[in-house]
């Protein structure tokens, strides 16, 4: 069954719970990669990602529409054309940023699809659009960091 079909029969609280599960999955992934990383710098980066997703999780658990009203910044698409690193090995800080930005992008697309699917339901449409915007904000921050550090072009 498509995710949209599952969601349309859910209450708003259940949808929030589903999104929280999505964020918890990210927290778990970054925690695992942090624990596995042998590179100290990559370890620090993964810890930052754990903190970022944990904060997002907390925001969802205490959801207030006002927190999500900012428009997302421009999509820089810095990592869109980059090769996605395999999660099965030790990653560098550079690869950690690519992995995380691509993940935020995929999640944003999922929420955008759901927002589109629920275009006639104002509450759900607004909620999913806001969720997509939040993911795009994360992607923007990660790509800005990537560009500033790994594309200095000096």
């Amino acid at each position: 069954m498509a995710l949209s079909d599952i969601i349309k029969n859910m209450s708003f609280d259940e949808i929030i719970k589903l999104c929280c599960d999505q964020e918890q999955e990210a927290v778990n992934l970054y925690t695992e990669l942090r624990n596995r990383a042998t590179d100290d710098a990559a370890k620090l980066k993964f810890q930052e990602l754990v903190d970022m997703e944990t904060q997002h999780l907390v925001n969802l658990q205490t959801f207030e529409i006002e927190k999500y009203m900012d428009l997302p910044p421009a999509n820089l698409k810095v990592t869109d054309y980059l090769t996605e690193p395999s999660k099965d090995r030790n990653l560098t800080t550079q690869e950690a940023l690519i992995l995380a930005a691509k993940r935020e992008d995929k999640t944003a697309k999922l929420y955008q699809d759901l927002a589109h699917f629920f275009k006639d339901n104002v509450e759900l449409n607004t909620f999913f659009q806001m969720m997509a915007d939040e993911e795009l904000r994360h992607k923007h921050d990660l790509e800005t960091e990537y560009e500033d550090e790994f594309l200095q072009e000096g």
Partner: protein
């Protein structure tokens, strides 16, 4: 740094007339001719030109040029000595604060440092401080008989300091510490001294002979140089400190770990990091083929990705190695290129093609695994962000291909992880750079660090400034033993 008193004026040109003197052009090799050789591009001012240029200085009461110099060279003082044609004393004056003036006079971005804040430059072209620095440094090298033989080395302190890396930070630190009376040993991983100055900067911008003389000058002061010694492999930091009797250590390893783009096709034959390409050409003397038969691809269509000085060095090297089409591919506009304007102009004069607002997204290979083209996207500059900078954004559907039988990636360098991996007590940040306080102290007692290993890729003079600051810190530490 040494104290300064206002210099005696030797400028005979009346103040108002100084503004009418045009900035003296740097003589250079003909572009067509130099694109086929590795001889130095800039030829240096003549003595008469140097004096005329020096006479453009208006002797400000508050010399802002010194504030723009990371090692606070007494710029007005050495300029007055040039006005008096006392070139040897001018060289000695610079050396009070800068141990590598012939290097800095060639590769420092003066236009964003001392010359940017030159008061003359507010209405006219700034005094060509870098060209004057180079002139007196070259004069010193060519006229050793005129230089003072008075020893500048203090009485021995009985303390031993290890310097790891012989790049600009390491050499600057070594110079200050040997003058302070410590025994100084410089460990270099490669087979030639100079770090990035020798493996990264081509002969046509910084002749190796100049660097060798600077190293020889330090040797003559008593600095001991050991090459082919990898700290972290040959011996560890712990072994040097605990078993070899060093009382303190300075880490000046630089940022020698090349960064890649992480796009498909980067592993094809013919795709180099700028680091590898320039090292093969410079350090391993690929540029001296056939005397040195270092493997180095000679391309018809050579593209270099990036817009900094390293990218300019790489593309101009590829041109000199025979590429008929040597091209810079840069994702921003020319205005945002980090390379010095002089290097961009030199490259263009030599026939380098500059493509801006273009970014490769894939390198395509032939049936033998050799790169044959680059698939690129056109970019547009977005709205300014919080820092006011306009970031480039890909234009969907704008893909096109350009021929490329060699690609050099020059998007930046990171820190070598060897020291942090073998010495976990030395803290690094999330980019892998060593963390220090303002005087270069790391998290490990007795170990200091400075230059690109701390800041990430920066300029030669900033690395030297960090080295000098650390040398002050080391002096204090060796005197007091305190590490608070």
């Amino acid at each position: 740094m040494t104290k300064r008193t206002k210099p005696t004026s030797h400028n005979v040109v009346p103040m108002k007339a100084r503004f009418a003197i045009p900035r003296q052009d740097m003589p250079e090799q003909n572009p067509t001719k130099r694109a086929g050789n590795f001889l130095e591009v800039n030829l240096g001012l003549t003595a008469d030109q140097a004096v005329i240029e020096a006479q453009r200085c208006i002797e400000c009461g508050n010399p802002t040029c010194m504030e723009g110099c990371p090692v606070s060279i007494k710029i007005p003082d050495f300029i007055q000595l040039i006005c008096n044609r006392d070139f040897a004393k001018a060289a000695a004056k610079i050396k009070e604060d800068n141990s590598l003036p012939a290097v800095c006079g060639r590769v420092c971005p003066q236009e964003t440092q001392c010359e940017e804040v030159c008061v003359v430059g507010k209405r006219f072209e700034p005094v060509a401080i870098g060209r004057l620095e180079r002139f007196v440094a070259d004069y010193e090298r060519l006229h050793p008989e005129e230089m003072s033989t008075e020893s500048v080395v203090a009485e021995s302190t009985g303390k031993n300091v290890a310097i790891v890396g012989s790049g600009p930070a390491g050499l600057a630190t070594a110079a200050d510490l040997i003058k302070a009376g410590h025994a100084v040993t410089v460990f270099e991983a490669l087979h030639e001294f100079g770090g990035v100055l020798v493996y990264g900067i081509p002969e046509f911008r910084l002749p190796k002979e100049i660097l060798r003389k600077e190293v020889a000058a330090l040797e003559s002061l008593g600095v001991k140089f050991i090459k082919n010694f990898i700290v972290g492999r040959t011996q560890t930091v712990h072994e040097l400190l605990n078993e070899e009797g060093f009382d303190a250590m300075f880490l000046g390893l630089g940022a020698g770990l090349p960064r890649f783009m992480n796009i498909p096709g980067e592993n094809l034959n013919g795709v180099y990091s700028a680091n590898e390409f320039l090292t093969r050409s410079n350090l391993m003397r690929g540029y001296e083929f056939p005397d040195y038969d270092t493997p180095l691809y000679r391309a018809e269509h050579a593209i270099t990705v990036g817009g900094g000085n390293t990218a300019m060095d790489a593309v101009r090297t590829s041109k000199r190695l025979g590429a008929n089409h040597a091209t810079i591919v840069y994702r921003r506009s020319e205005e945002e290129m980090p390379a010095r304007n002089e290097e961009i102009h030199h490259a263009k004069d030599e026939g380098v093609h500059v493509m801006t607002l273009i970014n490769p997204i894939e390198f395509i290979g032939d049936e033998n695994g050799f790169v044959k083209s680059a698939r690129c996207l056109k970019m547009a500059l977005g709205e300014p962000d919080d820092s006011g900078r306009r970031r480039p954004i890909p234009i969907e559907g704008s893909e096109f291909e350009i021929p490329a039988d060699m690609v050099v990636i020059a998007v930046g360098n990171g820190s070598n992880p060897l020291i942090s991996q073998t010495t976990p007590e030395i803290s690094t940040n999330k980019w892998g750079n060593v963390v220090t306080d303002e005087i270069g102290r790391t998290s490990m007692k007795g170990v200091f660090a400075g230059g690109d290993i701390v800041t990430g890729g920066a300029t030669v003079i900033l690395a030297m400034g960090a080295g000098r600051a650390a040398a002050e810190g080391i002096n204090e530490y060796l005197k007091t033993g305190e590490w608070v």
